[in-house]
Each structure stands twice: as C-alpha cells, then as structure tokens.
C-alpha cells in the first residue's frame, strides 16, 4: 500500500497504524504533527488548514512513489487534515512499515519532509491575542521575509 488521504474529520492514529500491518514487517515508524501552543513566538489557540485536494492527492502519491522507489519499504500511508483544528489536534500522520528499521525511519522522514514542501496546503493560525496569520512554508522561511507574508 502506498496511499495518501485528506481527512476533513479527526485522524485516528491507532486505526491507521493497524491498517499497515504486514506479516513480513519488522518495523513501523510513525510521525504525527500536532497543533502546538506556540509558533514563532506567538501563542496559538487554533488553526485552519486550506487544502487544494486534487493536487494534494496527486502530489502526495508522487512523493510516496518516489520514496518507495528509492528506499525498500513494504507500505506507506500519509494523511493530512483539512479544516479547523484545536490545540493538540493531529494535523498530519505518516506511517511506514519495512522489514528493518533503517528503511522505515528514512522513508517516514523523507515523506513528511516532502509533504511539507510540496503539497498545496496552507495554514492560518489564530492567536491568543485575537489576530490571525497565514504561516509560511519552511523553504520560504529560509528566504527571509518576502512581500507575500503578512499577519492579517
């Protein structure tokens, strides 16, 4: 299985990990991204994810296939939320199973790294102070501030 989904409802990590069971698998590595209570020095109270689903699914599948072609794994599943999340909510889940642990660790890391860089997903943070802002991607943050970034 190499699969990506966009969920409008809560992610159930336990159901997802059970879906990856495989008798030939010796290792499962999972990554969960949680909504934490701070980002770049601001106190966060909630988030909205906007997802352009058709391209998120096709780009996600391309990422999973590329990683699986590069690293020998048995299965990989990635799920990203859309819509509103509260503090502590699970925004993204990635699970990889393989015969040995090295492959599962490397593939899980490669998949989440590429998801964050490539999928058409945007995050609007709502701050404790009452304002909100669109969050820049990590690649863009390395460019410093640019005209497309403003807290609104």
């Amino acid at each position: 299985m190499r699969r990506i989904d966009i969920f409008e409802q809560a992610i159930d990590p336990d159901a997802l990990r059970r879906g990856l069971f495989n008798e030939a698998a010796g290792a499962l590595v999972t990554f969960e991204g949680w909504i934490r209570n701070h980002n770049e020095g601001r106190e966060v109270r909630a988030l909205d994810y906007e997802v352009y689903t058709p391209l998120a699914l096709s780009e996600g599948q391309r990422i999973l296939d590329a990683v699986a072609n590069d690293i020998p794994i048995l299965a990989a599943h990635a799920v990203h939320r859309s819509g509103s999340l509260q503090l502590g909510g699970c925004a993204v889940w990635v699970g990889v199973v393989s015969a040995h642990r090295d492959e599962a660790f490397r593939a899980c890391r490669a998949i989440i790294d590429q998801i964050k860089l490539d999928l058409p997903i945007w995050k609007k943070e709502y701050y404790v102070e009452g304002d909100s802002g669109w969050v820049n991607c990590e690649r863009c943050a390395s460019h410093g501030s640019h005209p497309g970034h403003a807290h609104t």
Binding site: G33, P120, W134, N136, C137, H146, P147
Partner: protein, 80 residues
C-alpha cells in the same frame, strides 16, 4: 491574447477578495500572468516561494499559457 481562468488560494484569495476570475491576457507565461495580477495578490517575484499549477498539474513559472487553461496561484505552502 489568451483566455484563462485564474484561481487564487489562501492568502492570495483573501487579498484578491475573489476565489477565481476569467480573463483575457497578453501574458504568454505563468510568470508574466502572475506579474500582471499584482493588484490581486500583492506579491512581487513568486519564484522560489510561490507555486503555480495549470489544469491541475504543477507547472514552472516559465510554462506557456493556452486558451482555456485553468491557472492556480499558490502562495507559500505550509502543510504539516
């Protein structure tokens, strides 16, 4: 002149005040189109941090435009 549909996402949609528009443009590439729409998205050079897709396929900023293309303008992504 090329007749297109342009769709704005996230910050770009908020700034433009619209989800999408149909327009006729003299732009021949995605980059030229982006610059011609600066009054909508209020962003200078998109290369390196913004993305563009044409007809639901990721594209380069120097991709050519064709009649009836649907051009998707993506501000910096922030999944995860």
């Amino acid at each position: 002149m090329t007749r297109l549909t342009v769709r704005y996402f996230a910050l770009f949609r908020e700034r433009a005040g619209i989800d999408q528009e149909q327009l006729t443009t003299e732009a021949t590439t995605a980059l030229e189109l982006f610059h011609s729409l600066a009054h909508r998205h209020q962003t200078d050079d998109p290369r390196g941090h913004c993305k563009v897709a044409i007809n639901d396929v990721m594209a380069d900023w120097d991709s050519p435009l064709h009649d009836n293309d649907i051009v998707l303008l993506f501000p910096p992504v922030a999944g995860g």
